[in-house]
Assembly symmetry: C2
C-alpha cells in the first residue's frame, strides 16, 4: 500500500524489522526498498547500508539496491532492472509518496538510537547514476520530505552542501538585487489513482499526439483534467474527466490552445486537426469536454 497507513503516526518506533513488517510499514525483512516497477516504491529503510548515502533530514540521497559483496563494499554495477530501483523510478515518474524508515545503523545524524523509526512521506525528486566510492556504478535517488512531514531531530548539525535547492525556494543570482528572493512554483502535476488508471489504459501514450516519452527505467505521461478541479470550474475527479497527455499537450490543453468538440474532434488554434484517440474502457464525460471548451470561447 502506497502512502500513509491508517493508525501509523510519524515518529512511531519499531524495535525490530519484524515489528515494522508486521505493522505493514516496511514489509520486506531484509530488502531496503519495498515495491515493484509497476506499483512504485511503498517504503525504504535508511540504515547506512550504502556508504554513498547522504542524510540531511528532510532531504535524503539514497543509493539504490544491488552490487554489494558480503563485506558491504560495491563489487559490481547497480542497474535499473533491479526491482527496487525500478520501483523508485516509478515513484519519481508517477509522483508517488514513499514511506521512509530510519534504522539505528550507520552514522546518520537522524538515525534513531535503537531500532527503526517511521519518519513519514517523502517524494523522489531526482535520480541518476554515478561511480560510487568503490568505483562501481551506483544509482542514487534524491528524496525530499513533503512540506507537512516533520523533520526528525538530529543528534548533530548537518547542513545541505548547497542551500540553493530547498523545496519551494529558488534564490536568484545574477543581476537581481539580493533582497529579492522570489519563490515561484510554476506547474504542479499531481498523480492521483484516478490519473494513474487513465495513464495505464493508454500506456502513457498521449491521446492527442501519440507521443510516449521513454526514459531510463520507464515511460512518462501526465493525467490532465478536462474540466478543471476546484473553483470556479469544479470538475469531478473521475477517469471520465481525465485525459492521458504528454507534457506539451497538457500545457496546450490547460491553456486552451486545444479544445475538443462533442464528437471528440480535436480543435487546435480554431482548426480541426483530427480525432481524440480513445480506449474502450475509458469513457469521456462530454459535459466536462463542453465545460472546457466553453472556458476558452473567444
Amino acid at each position: 500500500m502506497i502512502g500513509e497507513l491508517p493508525g501509523v503516526e510519524v515518529g512511531q518506533e519499531y524495535r525490530t524489522r519484524r515489528l515494522a513488517h508486521e505493522a505493514g510499514v516496511h514489509r520486506p525483512l531484509q530488502a531496503g526498498i519495498c515495491g515493484t516497477m509497476r506499483s512504485g516504491a511503498e517504503s525504504i529503510v535508511v540504515s547506512g547500508g550504502y556508504k554513498d548515502d547522504e542524510d540531511y533530514g528532510d532531504v535524503i540521497v539514497y543509493t539504490g539496491h544491488g552490487g554489494q559483496g558480503s563485506g558491504g563494499n560495491q563489487v559490481s554495477n547497480q542497474s535499473l532492472e533491479d526491482a527496487g530501483n525500478a520501483a523508485l523510478v516509478t515513484s519519481y515518474l508517477e509522483g508517488l509518496p514513499v514511506r521512509v524508515l530510519r534504522g539505528y545503523q550507520g552514522d546518520s545524524a537522524y538515525a534513531p538510537d535503537a531500532g527503526y523509526r517511521y519518519d513519514g512521506l517523502y517524494r523522489v525528486t531526482r535520480y541518476g547514476s554515478k561511480l560510487g566510492i568503490d568505483g562501481f556504478l551506483i544509482w542514487q535517488f534524491r528524496l525530499e520530505a513533503y512540506d507537512d512531514t516533520p523533520t526528525p531531530q538530529a543528534t548533530q548539525q548537518v547542513e545541505l552542501p548547497s542551500a540553493a535547492d530547498q523545496p519551494g525556494t529558488t534564490p536568484i543570482t545574477g543581476n537581481e538585487s539580493p533582497e529579492r528572493i522570489t519563490s515561484t512554483v510554476q506547474r504542479i502535476v499531481r498523480s492521483s489513482a484516478v490519473k494513474r488508471q487513465v495513464k495505464a489504459w493508454h500506456d502513457n501514450r498521449c491521446q492527442l499526439c501519440e507521443t510516449r516519452l521513454e526514459v531510463p527505467g520507464g515511460s512518462y505521461s501526465e493525467g490532465a483534467h478536462i474540466q478543471a478541479l476546484g473553483s470556479p470550474h469544479n470538475g469531478p475527479d473521475t477517469t471520465a474527466n481525465v485525459l492521458c497527455l504528454c507534457p506539451n499537450c497538457h500545457v496546450l490543453f490547460d491553456a486552451g490552445a486545444v479544445v475538443l468538440e462533442d464528437n471528440l474532434t480535436v480543435i487546435r488554434d480554431g482548426q480541426p486537426v483530427g480525432a481524440l484517440r480513445t480506449h474502450v474502457q475509458h469513457r469521456i464525460d462530454l459535459d466536462c469536454v463542453r465545460h472546457h471548451r466553453e472556458r476558452w470561447r473567444k
Copy 2:
C-alpha cells in the same frame, strides 16, 4: 518589481490607494492589475469591483480587466489583449508570484474593515473565459496563496465549493479505500530570473526540438538546469547551466533520455540526433554538460 518588497510585511494596512502606491505595493492609483505582458503582474487589488469575483481567502477567483460601463456592469467582452489581463497570463506561464491587496469594498469575508491590506504572495494556477453574470465574455484567473502566505482572518465562514483542489491534496475517488488520502506532487518547475533570461534569449523555443508552445495570451517554455541544483549534484544557478526546453524535452533531459556531448551534439537513446541550438549571448557551461552526462552513464 515582482515578489516581496523589502520591509513590507503581510498584513500591512494602507489607508488609501495613494499610500499603497507610495509604498510601491500596488503602483497604479486606479487599475486593479499592475503589470505588463512582458514582465507579468506585480500586484492586484481585490476590491469587489467585478461581480463575478470569488474570494475564499487562500484561493481567489479574480475577474480580469475591461468591459465595464460606468455603472459597474459588464457592457462588452473582456480580452487578453488588455495589458493587465496579459500580465496575469504571463504570471501563469512564468510561474511568477503576484502581490495581493484586499480593499474594504465589496462583500468579501476577507476584506479589511477599512482601507487596503497587503495579503502576501499568490500564484496564478489557472485562467479561462466565461460568460459573466451580465452576459458578456469575461476572463478569470484563479490565484492560490503560497504555502507560506498566511490566510487572512475571515469575518464569516466561506468554504470552497469543492474541497477537491486544495493545494497539495488530491482526494482519491474510485476503487480506493477512503482512508487512503495520498498527496502527490509530481513535477515542480520553478521559474527564476535566471531561467527567465534564458527563455527570453530563445524566445521560448526549445533548444532541442524547436517546439514553441503557443497558447492564448502568450507562449510557453521551461528553464531546465543542466547540472541539477542541490545535493548530490550541486549545480550552479546560472544561465550557463540552464537550457530553454519544451516540457517534453525537459522530462527527457531530466531523466537522462537525452544527454549532450562536449561539442553540444545531442545524444538521444545513445544515438547522435543533431546539435543543440545555441544563442550568441547564451554561453553553456561544459562542466555542467559533462556532469549531467556522467549522471546517466550506463
